[in-house]
Amino acid sequence: MTANPDRWSKAYRPLRPRSLVVQLMFLVVAEIVLYATYDVHDARFHWATHFLVALTYASLVMLVRLLVTGVPGPRLLLPAVLGFHLFAMAPDLLFRGGVPHYRWMDVFLGHITVHYLPGGDGSWLAIALTSLGLFIGALTAWLRARHAEADAGLPPGIGLTGMAVLRPQTDPRRATLAHDEHGEQAGGGPTVVLLHGLGASSAFWRPVADGLGAAGARTVVPDLLGFGASIRLGTHFHLDDQAAAVVQLIEGQAAGPVVLAAHSYGAAVAVTVARDRPDLVRRLVLVTPAAFADGAQARARIGDRSWIARKAMDGSPVAGVACGTMCLLRWPLTSLAPWLAARVSPDIPADVARDGVRYVWPAYRDALTSLLDDSPLPAWLADPPLPTAVVIAEDDQTVLADGLSALLGPGVDVVRMPGTHGLPLERPDEVARVILLDRNTTVSKAL
């Protein structure tokens, strides 16, 4: 496991006590000067109104920022209030330069209209203190959560949004991945564990798991850390973390080595599990694994399929903001996604569409970056130490069939099927049959 203290210290920068004291002194002195400039002209209530409006906006912006990015900011928290104040009073500065007020000057945080609020500065005081209270409440909860995580020996949940802003994440060493179980163990066959891909959950495997259950296989389908119902589990989401959580699940759920089947990004997790704990894995089945020759190819292929993935791989903060906004709107989006999917892609089951928006940004980001330069897949596929089957979708536009074929060594069982990257949804019965294959059974016989 690799911790990332750089990311923590960056996120904590706005909260350094010494810096905050200096900022507070600067803000107080600046506001006293501004107050004096209004007092000279017997216009103190103007100072108060615009300061209180600025405090309201600054508090709300910082609140939204905290909720959307999971990180307090900006770096200069308190001068931001001064910045808002100077913006709000800009028409007064223009007036001193010879420009009277006009109605359009309401663009400066409602410079004209704010004076007409019933109750005047008393009302603005109440509004400003309420906004400040909301931000401080969220910030306090965020601090408590991060302290609790540190006390538990977890890395802090920096950048986690949704409920993680207000409450600490659960330690994945003390909890098991949320999972579905299908079927009963029959005839002493191995348990099958199915790992989902990026932006998905156990729901993605449900049609296959139903087929496996009907065939007498006991199947366990987890939601990986930060995805689906495991969204409140863990604060760090690299391959090693995901693999450790899967190992823990297998140890708790299976009597012997399992058949580990995985889709897309899940294949990287599965290979990490098999590499670290070969004693737990009897056979790997990798369905359209997200395996690429190198980072550049991974960037090109994945980026071509998803705007948000492309931004994330480029390290753009836009992706984090977009994802954080989605997390903030998760509740309505989980209702909206199945409705939208039914109209745009009727083949996608409602629960798959719903879980398509149930993940935290760091889990998504770390999953993507793990496929770029440190993916264990190419090395494993070239010479697998354990029995490994790869299912290739001939029309896959994310992992091109030819590109994937070129990575496969002679020790890999290869199954080609017509279909796209979402093969387990498109051909659940065929995929289930490949998963149930014994090493001695030929592919053609099974299918």
Partner: protein
């Protein structure tokens, strides 16, 4: 679906010191105790309340009952005056009419007068009842005490009232009159 299962009782959980080390790294805990923001916010709330209550005074007897309307700096497109009204001729230049309760005197007024009228603006002073008719025409507000106004109006060269405000401390704010007359001249 089995949701994430609490395994707090698991004996071998977190025994590996390497595994449990992350949160104990010096940088892992936030640099600020979680009670500090609330404490600072409470002090800020107290100070702001005191500032608003004590320093930002309520309107005085000569002020506009609605503080927002006093010296709002907003150009009006007010009523158009007749070419001749209340003994004054309008229409050839910008006129500033000062309404006062007593005859203004003293160096502060002289300085204000010089500033207001130094760019070709005509200044007219109406004291007490003499300003009553004009005050009604330009629509200057009635102060809190319900008596005659202390303030001024600006009428542009096309006889339109562009500004009318109470300002009991007008001698401190000559630049405001200049801004308005500069914008309408």
């Amino acid at each position: 679906m089995t949701t994430a299962v609490d395994r707090a009782g698991r004996a071998d959980c977190c025994d590996d010191p390497q595994d449990a080390a992350w949160g104990r790294l010096p940088a892992a805990a936030p640099p600020l105790p979680s009670w500090v923001p609330a404490a600072v916010a409470a002090v800020v709330a107290l100070v702001l309340t005191l500032v608003v209550v004590l320093l930002v005074r309520p309107p005085g007897p000569l002020d506009d009952p609605n503080p927002a309307d006093q010296r709002d700096g907003l150009l009006l497109d007010g009523p158009t005056l007749p070419a001749e009204a209340a003994g004054l001729r309008f229409g050839s230049r910008t006129v500033v009419v000062l309404f006062e309760r007593d005859e203004p005197t003293g160096p502060a007024f002289e300085k204000w007068k010089a500033t207001v009228s130094d760019d070709g603006v005509e200044l007219v002073v109406r004291v007490g009842a003499a300003g009553e008719e004009l005050a009604g025409l330009v629509g200057i507000p009635t102060p809190v005490d319900g008596m005659r106004p202390v303030g001024y109006a600006v009428i542009d060269a096309s006889r339109t009232v562009r500004y009318a405000t109470l300002d009991p401390a007008y001698t401190r704010n000559a630049f405001e009159v200049d801004v308005i007359t500069g914008a309408v001249s």
